[in-house]
Amino acid sequence: MLLIVLLPLIFAFFIPFINKRKEKIHTGYFVLAIPLVIFIYFARHLGTDFEPITQHFAWIPSLHISFDFYLDGLSLLFVLLISGIGSLVTLYSIFYLDKSERLGHFYIYLLMFMSAMLGVVLSDNVFVLYTFWELTSISSFLLIGYWHFNERSRYGALKSMLITVIGGLSMLGGFILLSNITGTTSIQGILSESEMILNHSYLPLIMGLLILGAFTKSAQFPFHIWLPDAMEAPTPVSAYLHSATMVKAGIYLVARMSPLFHGYDWFFIVVGGIGILTLCWASFLAIKQTDLKGILAFSTISQLGMIMTMLGIGTEVAVFAAMFHILNHATFKGSLFMIAGIIDHETGTRDIRKLGGLMTLLPISATLAFFGTFSMAGVPLPFLNGFYSKELFFESTLHGSEYSASFAMFIQHILPWLAVFGSIFTFIYSMYFVFGVFRGKAKIEQLPKKPHEAPIGMLISPIVLIIGVIVIGLFPTIVNSPLLAHAAYAVSGVHEEHHIAYWHGLDAKFLMSLAVVGIGTVLFMTKKKWETLYQKLPTRWTFNRLYDQFVTKIEPFSATITKGYMTGSLRLYTQLIVVAMFIVSIFTLVTSDGFAFLTADPSEIKISELLVAVMMVVAAIGTIVARNNVAAILILGVVGYGLSILFVIYRAPDLALTQLVIETITVALFLLCFYHLPKMKPKQDTVRTKLLNAAISIGFGTLLTLVAISSHSSKWFPSISEYFIETSHTLGGGDNVVNVILVDMRGLDTLFEITVLGIAALGIYSLIKIRRNKEVD
């Protein structure tokens, strides 16, 4: 199974070689074989006696990540859709895309997507599933941006990428939590630990993360906004990705994980509630659209919402209906997208306001569109598959589980009403689509192209799909036991062959269907009267606007934050560093009980030490208040010489000598530099700045004093210096302990210190000697 999943990816490597001869034979003909082979491979498994198949291929065994493939009814339904519709879309694209397009790119992306999608629905390992999941996001991004010279394409691609990747990452979080809790990375293993997950305190978090991933991918409210913008992709892509397969990946995830959350109230509230909200909102908005593909995009969103609702309800009927509708939606929506593509191709526009009266000009397309839209609307006719799943949908909304939580009960009660409401609008936009395009007065002179029927090759795929619609409509039981029963069993865990029949008697669900058609017809006839309602919708607070604001504002926002502290002022940086050190040190001192003030053995303070100290303090203050640079340097020299006197007092002759010489050199160099500097203007600081600087420096000085006193007061170990004093003569052969330490015991330090000096000297030399001419730069 690994080979069959990776087959499209492997074949993608050969596309560039094939594509060289695209002028003779369209590259698509070669690609067409791939999904057909996959379809045949999986179609063999169809049948009533199907048993799940597991296959294992090691990838990263140490992390328990392996290519585990698990083919059960649910996966089978999806792989057949992916490969079946994939074949038809490839065939359609051969006639849709001209040879002058970059066909190589198109088919490589498409094959990449196909592999990714097969991987998503077949993987049993959560991390492999995530890998393929992100690959679908990336290939979808590439396909939406296929016409990258088009600004709207780039916008749509980026939008879908951002939203689906956010969801994908959140899903990864959910997977990590799940595998941590259950100790397994296998989905079947996780599902078998359902009890443990349901009683775990992380349950809401896990469900939220997984559902966020599924909702962003499947364009549920309020993440549906990327799907209409993804319509900038070539129509075969829209038909394949954005109606039949990729947007159902979220559905697949919810269906796959629903045994885990079965019986959890919030699962019904979130999935069912958001699903029905999506259904109503998107079908309501679909009527506002003027672009054919825009209508279909909102229609897809609402149909996905419907499937999601059924999964949320989670009874056997609802799950069965969901599986049935996944299949039905893929058939009629795929064909409708292809018809929209044909209309676009043959008339040059997709704007429904310019179209009309095409029935006689495109008779075959009109017929196909009639079947597709009427099936989508759920019109009660026995040769339309959409009606059956819609009726099952009504049935499942009427008979949900009994919920204890009051909010769940509330949703349960309003569910049938909302279902009817959404279905009415579904009916209206379906009629709007078919009548708006094919009936009415033809405005041929307004169209960019003179319309005529599409070539037969382009029509094959929608014809096949519509035949599927009719065949399933006439004989709904033929897909029942070989496919749908297994799929429903995989989700609900109950073997039930639901009986699908056209006539169940005049019961509630049939009345609901009749109400939909009746009210829908009336509303469609009077559409002009209430259409003004859409103009009253708020344009200011929409999710699209929110997204745009977020994307456009986040960059200036972060720039503002960065510029707020990255001003380029070294003074500010120093202040921040010092304040941060202050806060961290004080925090550590206080929390670790670091203050210690032992006054047990301070040595006696001599008058000479005191005098030197006072001199140094006065000089240090003098340096700060000095108005003149040269004066400040000279006074600073006093501090240095005072220090060397202290070294003398504390019996450090080597240090005193070195300090004396170095201080002299430093002061001399300072003077030399300032002599050449331009006379600086005294800095005019405000009182506030001065006070702030004073506060920071006094605070930091106090801190260092405290640290020094504390560290002096807490001596935990005896000093190592005794050892040096004892062994200086015997081991080092010298009586100057300091020198013996420097050259003998710790010679390595000295070696590197003189290296530092050497580098500094060479640096100064090259700074002064090597000068580029400014004009040259």
């Binding site: 080092g732 052969g733 010298g734 100057n736 003998d744 070696l751 290296t755 000297a761 100064i764």
Partner: protein, 142 residues
């Protein structure tokens, strides 16, 4: 640059420079047992040179002492490094020092330590560094 007639400065420099040089060599040699050592010794030697430069000007001193002080830096560093590497010959860890007592013809019984070689490296490097810095800055005419 025209050098002013500083007779007193030059005469005293003639004396003091040699006293300084002698003192610096004393500091360097005595460092192992008394205050001093390569670092201070090197600084003191540079002080003598700087005094000469101040009294007689760059051109004159460069003629009398035709030394490129920049070369002192690699030479000194190499000496210090080689004394460290030398301990490998005797199968000892890097920078192991040792000492022994020798009977020298003039000085009598004296202690000689390999640490002095290392200190020599320090001494030469410090002279090189100090002179390079001061001469580069002083000669800068732009």
């Amino acid at each position: 640059m025209r050098i002013p007639n500083d007779l007193i400065l030059r005469t005293t420099t003639n004396l003091i420079a040699f006293i300084l040089l002698a003192f610096s060599i004393y500091l360097f040699l005595a460092g192992h047992s008394s205050p001093g050592g390569g670092f201070v010794g090197g600084l003191m030697t540079s002080a003598a040179f700087v005094l000469m430069y101040m009294a007689y000007g760059f051109d004159t001193v460069r003629k009398i002492i035709p030394i490129n002080f920049r070369l002192f830096i690699p030479i000194g560093l190499s000496i210090a490094l080689l004394t460290g590497l030398g301990s490998f010959v005797f199968n000892q860890p890097f920078l192991s020092q040792t000492f022994a007592y020798f009977h020298l013809p003039v000085f009598g019984e004296k202690e000689l330590a390999t640490a002095l070689l290392f200190d020599l490296g320090v001494y030469i490097t410090v002279i090189g560094v100090t002179m390079t810095i001061i001469l580069s800055i002083a000669e800068d005419r732009e």
